[in-house]
Amino acid sequence: MSKPKRIPGRSVPPLRWPWLVAFFAGSLTLFGCGSDREPGGEGITTILFKHGKIAGDPAKLAEIIAVFEAENPGIRVKDETLPASTDEQHQFYVINLGAGSADFDVLSMDVIWIAEFARLGWLRDLSHLLGESERQKFFHGPIEAVTYEGKIYAIPWYIDAGLLYFRKDLLQEYGYSPPQTWDELVGIARAVTAQEDELYGFIWQGKQYEGLVCNALEYLWSHGGEVIQNGEVVLNSPQNVKALQFMRDLITEYQVSPALVTTMIEEPTRHIFGNGRALFLRNWPYAWNIFQQEGSAIKGKVGVCKLPAFPGFESASTLGGWQLGVNGNSKHPQAAEKFIEFMTSPRIQKRLALTVGYKPTRIALYNDPELLREQPFFAMLYDVFTHARPRPVSPYYMMITQVLQPEFSAVVSGIRTPSEALQSAHKQIVRVLEMGD
């Protein structure tokens, strides 16, 4: 190898690096020495609040944060939005909390993560914020979901649950009332679709993903079944076999659900129903406002009720929604707790309901005259939310759902019989729980 030669006629490029050094040095002074104390503001604590995308206008959240700051002069709140997909948010928290990050203080969490994060010691115990009497003021489902080994690890912020949308106009025309049982739903759907062209009876979400588990559990629960009871796997039971068989029968035997439901997630089903192409739809409350928008094909023709049940059993909805917790490594746990108490207080939940449509987790708000005047839909939701049940509250839920998704998918697409699928899933979940012990 020879020495590197100077290429004649080309001069050394002008020095760029001093600028780079200056830039990095500058950014260090800006970000590197971040302390809790804001310059000039003695004793001011800044907390960071991580959350998913705010539905509707993000400025509404900023206004609410401004109220908090005005009432708590010693605390500043910075909020940061995470990627829209729930999976990515989970990934973010796992990576950061797993590495012991103290960069953020308050985090909003999906209902299925609490037990997992709590077991890993990533969340601060918030039991002292929710005494026994205070817990009674919330819907039961979310409280169950934030409780792990008797302690509370997050405060329910807003609630979500599966419900049944139906075409009010068509039911009226054919003289039916909303179905109370699954058999009634099948009967009505068969009778009406026999008369109407281009109308599906009942559509739901059957693609292999988390939403399928949400759908399937509603059938299991409304037939007295369960996945895990008192730490014992009870998935492979005759009730569950029958309930799952019914899901498949909706497509093949009764032919009220088209085979396309086995590839559907929420939005495509919402489109089909929204175009007036289906009589019944299982979905979450978000779809209501879209159906009632100006220009919607079914504006004013939609009703909602809680999901049907099998005769002799209670209706059950899968619980969704978001909860606020405190990072176990937070440097400002007191300020963070104060902020969570504020965000989940009745007045702020009411304000969020009025401005961005978040459904309150506090029962009393469903009797609030002003709220009901502005959002009459909420009155109908009360019944649904009291029947909302959390998916198995287990730190291993993410593994359990990975077992359930392909097995449920196999049943609804007719690849395996319900008893084969449940037997296989049962065995796998037993193994997951054993690994955890």
């Binding site: 190898m1 292999q208 396309l260 993410m398 392909p406 998918s409 196999a410 697409s413 690849i415 690994m435």
Partner: protein, 281 residues
């Protein structure tokens, strides 16, 4: 100093080691551990992950899906790509424009085109059923789902094959064709005796690229079916993703990733040997 080469490449070498070799070694190490933060375990278990893996039907199913996807999609892409490249190699008006247009599917990000195809495959609204006048549940039927994903991949990556093969075709000297014509070779004979042998090195390179890419297929299928129905479209990469990022089984997921790595490595070695055999001739 006689030779400062090593010193000069040190920063680049160190950077490469840090960003490429370190993660690979780490994944190998993880694959020998039981490592899952949820269970609070992190221990060395030797080859137990691999034992478990090779005994697990889900792994063999994912491997079978991956091999099927790779075999069918790469074969179709090569046949189609070669045909289109041969057409585009002829001189005709608007050839430049055709070349540009044909690249469009390849230029669209995979996730975007997968979403697009998801709607086109939709049983109810989908343009495909509309055109065919059918009611096929493309993504929900265990037979069609994988083939639908393959079809999308063929649509998307054939342009890439065309691009490379066109480049290969252009370096074949015109004189050879002229000579073949003088010797009385017809179009078919010219293709078999002149074009194909001279294009073979390019074809092997394209095959290498495409096979490696197809074997690691993730995004298109993940968006289209999520691995469903009932894992009939789950490939090794999707299974590895679910193990690593959704259920946080870092050890087991790493073992899966290593298997993909080894398979891809073997495929590369095979192709590279074929290629060097070509070069020696």
């Amino acid at each position: 100093m006689k030779d400062r080469g090593e010193v000069m490449v040190f920063p680049a070498g160190a950077a490469l080691l840090l960003v490429a070799a370190y993660p690979v070694v780490l994944v190998f190490w993880f694959s020998l551990c039981r490592k899952n933060p949820i269970f609070g375990v992190s221990e060395f278990i030797g080859l137990a992950n691999y034992q478990h893996l090779f005994a697990e039907p889900r792994f063999w199913n994912a491997l079978k899906n991956t091999v099927y996807f790779t075999g069918v999609s790469v074969t179709l892409e090569m046949i189609l790509g070669l045909s289109v490249a041969l057409l585009l190699n002829r001189v005709f008006r608007g050839r430049g424009m055709m070349r540009a247009i044909i690249l469009v599917p390849w230029a669209i990000p995979t996730v975007v085109s997968a979403r697009m195809w998801e709607w086109m495959y939709n049983t109810d609204f989908g343009v495909l059923n509309y055109l065919l006048g059918t009611q096929v549940n493309w993504l929900g039927d265990p037979f069609w789902a994988m083939n639908a994903a393959i079809f999308m991949d063929v649509w998307k990556t054939t342009p890439f094959v065309v691009l490379l093969l066109t480049a290969g075709l252009q370096v074949i000297p015109r004189e050879l064709y002229a000579a073949a014509r003088i010797d009385g070779a017809g179009g078919w004979a010219t293709f078999w005796r002149v074009t194909l042998p001279l294009l073979l090195p390019t074809i092997l390179v394209v095959l290498l690229f495409r096979t490696l890419d197809a074997f690691r297929i993730f995004d298109a299928i993940y968006v289209l079916t999520g691995g469903g129905p009932a894992n009939t479209t789950e490939t090794l990469s999707i299974y590895a993703y679910k193990s690593l990022f959704q259920t946080l089984q870092f050890g087991y997921g790493s073992a899966l990733a290593v298997v993909v790595f080894v398979c891809v490595g073997l495929i590369s070695v095979l192709y590279i040997r074929l290629l060097s055999g070509q070069a020696r001739r």
